[in-house]
């Protein structure tokens, strides 16, 4: 029996955003069993389904582009792949929607390796809208942005400016920012602190996860044409 990997792109929106990364993993395990997919299991003492999630999304954040790799016991046909989003939709809770499923070529990089940056919509809470754009521009203009963070109980000071690939005001107090995930990843909350230590995010949405193909930025999975892209995503994705 030959196994095969599929990669699923899904969104996480609404009330369900208050579930944790671990919760989402458990939700998927059960949904895949409910959808009666032939999932492959690990060998050994306590067999677990072979699922691999990408970068964790903080509890409370929404996302338009989350990814999950699933190892199946058999290679799915094209028709079956097409049917999967519908089959999974019936098995998933409200707020998690499958956007695309693709077969993963053997030897593909893992999600953790493949993703190099993410685009975020970060709404800053309790600030004057007029102050957001200048502060963001000032941060981008700075040669370096040194922040001190707690890492494993120790204070680590480093320059996070290289991890900010783009940032601009989208409207209101919402910033659209592209932040690197490697070599040094920057989280939305850390980004805000770097721009202004008094800022706090009131709502955060992951819009895209990007990978590098031949020096160009690309979506990890292209959305099928039928799917409605989220606002502002079409500009970035082209």
């Amino acid at each position: 029996m030959s196994s095969a990997q599929i990669r699923i792109r899904f969104s996480k929106r609404g009330k369900i955003r208050f579930t944790s990364h671990r919760d989402v993993a458990r939700i998927w395990e059960r949904a895949l069993r409910r959808a009666e997919l032939p999932i492959a299991y690990t060998e050994g003492y306590s067999p677990r389904p072979k699922l691999s999630f990408g970068l964790a999304l903080s509890t409370g954040y929404e996302s338009n582009g989350e990814y999950l790799d699933v190892t199946l016991r058999q290679v799915p046909g094209d028709v079956e792949l097409h049917e999967l989003p519908r089959r999974l939709a019936a098995a998933l809770p409200q707020g998690i929607e499958v956007q695309a499923v693709v077969a993963l070529p053997a030897g593909s990089a893992s999600l953790q390796q493949a993703v190099t940056s993410c685009t975020w919509h970060i709404e800053v809470g309790a600030v004057l809208p007029a102050s957001v754009a200048p502060a963001t521009a000032a941060a981008l203009a700075a040669p370096e942005l040194v922040v001190t963070r707690q890492r494993k109980g120790r204070n680590v000071t480093d320059d996070v400016r290289p991890a900010i690939l783009e940032a601009e005001l989208l409207g209101g107090t919402t910033i659209e920012a592209e932040l690197a995930t490697q070599p040094r990843g920057l989280r939305p909350a850390e980004f805000l602190t770097a721009v202004d230590p008094t800022w706090r995010a009131s709502r955060v949405t992951r819009i895209n996860q990007w990978t590098q193909v031949g020096g160009a930025r690309r979506e990890v999975i292209d959305l099928p044409p039928a799917a409605t892209p989220p606002p502002h995503a079409e500009v970035r994705a082209s």
Binding site: F18, T19, D23
Partner: protein, 657 residues
């Protein structure tokens, strides 16, 4: 009728585990409210993680939502961080289904499974914006109700509850709904509220505390009597005769976040006739009513397919006693659609090799730990509590477990049992140490964990007259065991906090005079008392003293036969003289075998309600000595014969099926 979600949402990012407040579980109903539907908010007075799996609540949730005159949603106690936010922001207690304010429902119905949640009940009522005392509620307030095992002695909560359900809720919720429909249709006036309560008091299984008055003689109760001629003197519990008619929950809730018992749960029977004298659940849920094996199989296979769970628990008070256990378990394990990845758990394992055999059959891969409950350390003590396990049963079970690959064994014990001597207490160490010894010959990494709980005498058990051990005495006994186990490698001792045991004992057998005590503990911040980090004995002691009540009277004192007990106006179907006789037999160290396969003792549970044990198998399950009436002549392994007197039936009735 608006949702509190918009007010709640901005704060959820700031509280621990916000997923417990969002609902959206698989199996969640889509409640449709309307003027013709009585709305129930089924509330568990502890956290979501503890409350969500509660089967009683889930069963009623479905039954009510299937009716066209009712609608039900669920609520759980918010954790302290959200509680503070809710009070600051004036957000009321809400349902997780549609985030509707609790005050918008007709009934707030609580499940009471543990005494230490009583203060949480008050907190939830208060968060709902409802006066905690029933007497202070106005017509616009919902009715506050409770059901569950603790309500067999509802008296400590009498001041706070408008009505109480005693026994199985499956049928009676519909009868209550019918009464409340009239109240709701009347526009919930003051007059119709009183009339509805009066009417409820006449529904079998429903107790309306305000319809009864208690007369005292000093600290003693002289009499408890109904205020009106049409209100029954005694409230009989409700019992559903046929579990097969109630295959609920049909759509067990699958939570989005971690909860306890996070697996498919299928109840295989209700009731127990083992007759363990300390066990309230076994006494009050009689008679035994088995679910047909075929229905269990269907509920398991459909449940697994629908939920996506990879674990199923076959629940009951002693699952190895289920007539169809072997075939049901084999069927689950062999089911091709499960791909061999479904694990079965059997809570409440019996102590014998047969049981281990079943466990081996199902736990092919993960042989991590097995739990047994010998409950007491010596055969003398086990006769007193009527847990008739011989040492050789335990050693046989343990040998069987270690030889089949298990390495960790957990043993449950009680201390502070009637007439317990230090020798009995230390017998716990003796048994556990012997289990370690047995394990050594099979594995190097043997681990035996002995868990010791202080015994709390419960209403409607033969031990309801027994004076509970003091906190100091329980500490002393635990100290004895701790000193003894310290020297035994591979044996670990854990124990329940004797101070919490004290408060459980207080609430368990308390009367109406405890109401102000519970209220004061709650007002001074004593919520989540079953969580050790929040438990505050000082608040309880202070409240008892402030109200001139004596711990000795309520907890430590032995009761006499003639005494009026606070729950004498409630009936669990058991004859009081049966319980008293069983208490006398306990003190005489006389065991009483299981009545499923021996003649009837006329405890009252079957005869009173015209129901008989519904057991598929006419013969006792194989293996072991427990209650099967076979070979109870020896109590120990060494061949020393300890005679066991078995009581002959007092009042034989016709042959049982």
């Amino acid at each position: 009728m608006t949702s509190v979600w918009p007010q709640l949402e901005p704060h959820l990012a700031d509280v621990e585990k916000p997923a417990r407040y969002i609902g959206l579980e698989l199996g969640a109903q889509r409640p449709e409210h309307g003027p013709g539907r009585v709305s129930w908010l089924l509330t568990y007075p502890d956290t979501y993680e503890i409350g969500l799996p509660n089967q009683g609540l889930q069963i009623l949730y479905e039954i009510l939502n299937e009716r066209d005159d009712a609608v039900a949603e669920r609520a759980y106690a918010p954790w302290g961080d959200l509680d503070a936010v809710m009070r600051r922001e004036r957000i009321p207690l809400f349902s997780v289904d549609t985030h509707r304010a609790a005050g918008d429902f007709d009934v707030l119905a609580f499940n009471l499974s543990a005494e230490l949640t009583y203060t949480n009940l008050l907190n939830c009522v208060d968060l709902a914006g409802i006066p905690v005392r029933a007497a202070e509620r106005r017509p616009e307030h919902p009715l506050v109700a409770a059901g569950g095992h603790c309500t067999y002695n509802p008296e400590p909560l009498a001041d706070f509850l408008d009505f109480v359900v005693i026994g199985d809720g499956e049928e009676v919720v519909s009868e209550i709904t019918a009464v409340l429909a009239d109240w709701k249709a009347s526009g919930r006036t003051a007059g119709s509220r009183t009339a509805a309560l009066r009417e409820l008091a006449r529904v079998e299984g429903v107790y309306v505390p305000s319809m009864y008055e208690v007369h005292y003689d000093g600290p003693a109760i002289r009499e408890i009597r109904p205020r009106h001629p049409d209100v029954p003197e005694r409230v009989e519990k409700r019992t559903i005769a046929d579990l097969a008619a109630w295959p609920y929950p049909r759509h067990q809730l699958v939570p989005l976040t971690e909860v306890v018992h996070d697996r498919l749960n299928v109840e295989v029977f209700r009731g127990c006739t083992r007759g363990c004298r300390f066990c309230q659940a076994g006494m009050i849920t009689r008679p035994v009513r088995e679910r047909p094996a075929e229905q269990v199989r269907t509920m398991v296979s459909e449940g697994l397919r629908r939920t996506g769970y990879d674990e199923v628990a076959l629940t009951s008070l002693s699952t190895a006693d289920f007539s169809g256990i072997e075939s049901v378990v084999q069927g689950i394990v062999d089911d091709p659609s499960a791909c061999g990845r479904v694990s079965v758990s059997l809570p409440s394992l019996r102590v014998d090799a047969f049981t281990v055999g079943i466990a081996a059959q199902i736990q092919k891969a993960r042989r991590t730990g097995l739990t047994f409950a010998p409950e007491a350390g010596t055969w003398r003590m086990r006769q007193i509590i009527n847990k008739l396990i011989r040492e050789e049963d335990l050693y046989g079970a343990v040998t069987s477990a270690f030889s089949q690959g298990w390495r960790r064994i957990k043993l449950y014990f009680l201390t502070g049992l009637p007439s317990e001597t230090d020798e009995d207490t230390l017998g716990i160490h003796e048994l556990a140490r012997n289990c370690v010894e047995i394990g050594r010959s099979y594995t190097k990494g043997v681990s035996v964990k002995a868990s010791v709980g202080g015994f709390v005498p419960k209403p409607f058990t033969p031990f309801q007259w027994f004076g509970q051990n003091t906190v100091d005495e329980l500490y002393r006994k635990i100290g004895l065991l701790r000193d003894a186990t310290r020297r035994t490698k591979g044996l670990q001792l854990t124990w329940h906090d004797p101070r919490a045991t004290l408060v459980e004992g207080l609430a368990s057998r308390g009367d109406r005079r405890l109401g102000p005590v519970i209220e004061q503990v709650w007002r001074r911040g004593g919520t989540f008392q079953e969580w050790s980090e929040h438990f505050r004995l000082d608040l309880w002691l202070e409240a008892m003293a402030d109200h001139g009540l004596d711990l000795d009277w309520y907890v430590y004192r032995h009761r006499t036969e003639a005494e009026v007990l606070p729950w004498d106006h409630i009936s669990a179907g058991l004859h009081k003289d049966f319980l008293w006789q069983d208490w006398q037999d306990a003190l005489a160290e006389v065991g009483l075998p299981d009545c499923r396969w021996t003649p009837c003792y006329d405890c009252g549970a079957c005869t009173g309600y015209g129901i008989e044990h519904v057991v598929a198998s006419a013969v006792a399950p194989a293996g072991g000595s427990q209650g099967t009436g076979q070979d109870l002549s020896t109590g120990d392994l060494c061949g020393t014969s300890v005679p066991v007197e078995l009581r002959s039936p007092r009042k034989p009735v016709g042959a049982l099926p």
